[in-house]
Amino acid sequence: MIILYIITAVLVLLSFAVDFRKTLKAFRISLKRFLKISPAFGGMLILVSVAMYIFPEEFIADSLGSGSIWISTAAGSLIGSITLMPGFIAFPLCGVLRDYGVQYMVLSGFTTTLMMVGILSFPVEKACLGVKVAVVRNIISLVIALIVAVSTGIIYGEIAL
């Protein structure tokens, strides 16, 4: 995070030093783009806040840890697709679940869909890519995530072919 600030600050200063007007123009573009897409970000925030209430961490832990490996993987992938959660919450949660005996295949399905499939970030995706591409991209991502999860299960010896 700090690296991002440093890089941005250095580049901005450098840009100002080379060409003042061009840098101002860059700021204008930044602001315009940001304002244009901010309603989508707002929509995403509202959806995320409601989803985090509906699917609290305890609920996720319960869904991933009960039932057969296939049902848990399906549940994990479903929850991962719907919710949006930063890595510093998701991975420690997965670490705890792993210690409680939840299989790697389930964790893989959950984390991979969490990262690749974004139902709640759909407002932002729609604004950037358009509805059709956004839908297709999410479906393909879900398929890839499931393939990754099953591969993980096979390699860890959790499921037999």
Binding site: F34, Y53, P86, F91, C94, G95
Partner: protein, 176 residues
């Protein structure tokens, strides 16, 4: 129809705002919790997004269109996908950061397939996130994910990119 859609959206946002404020005043627990989630996620985004959009602005004025076209555009060949994925590795935040960046790349002349590969790769192989993940779940776990998903991402992005380009697809205009 569009008017109606806008109205109902604004209505929903207002409803949400009223719900949260009423919850806060009458101490309605679910509403307070939702408000807290909103606030914490808002803080996370607001820490990232200004930098992201400033960098997008600088990218727009300093990077020449020809540079992007040459390395990420139609003439660029397979190497362009590797560039897209490497660029994705340096992304932070998540999909909601990668999407505006992808849009900027596209408007500068990157081809659709590369843009798709960038988005998916930004989701799964961001370097800081992967270090964190491997630290908790082990390197084997991350390695499996990388080696299975990356080839699939590249192949599906190429197919999808070609398909949508053949159909004459354009990304939504965000500039003006």
């Amino acid at each position: 129809m569009k008017r109606f859609k806008q109205f109902s959206l604004i209505g929903m946002v207002l409803l949400y705002a009223v719900f949260i404020s009423v919850s806060l005043t009458v101490k309605f627990n679910p509403g307070i919790r939702i408000g807290q989630h909103f606030w914490s996620f808002f803080l996370q985004m607001i820490k990232l997004l200004p930098c992201v959009f400033i960098l997008i602005g600088l990218f727009e004025v300093w990077i020449k269109r020809e540079t992007i076209e040459k390395h990420l555009g139609h003439g660029a060949g397979f190497l362009s996908y590797i560039w897209g994925i490497l660029l994705a590795g340096t992304t932070i935040g998540g999909l909601y950061v990668a999407l505006p960046v992808a849009h900027a790349l596209y408007t500068k002349g990157a081809r659709l397939g590369v843009v798709f590969a960038y988005i998916s790769a930004a989701a799964i192989c961001r370097v800081p996130m992967t270090l964190f993940e491997a630290g908790i779940l082990g390197w084997k776990f991350s390695l499996i994910r990388f080696s299975v998903s990356l080839p699939l991402v590249v192949v599906s992005s190429i197919l999808l990119g070609n398909y949508f380009e053949k159909k004459g697809y354009r990304m939504p205009e965000n500039e003006r």
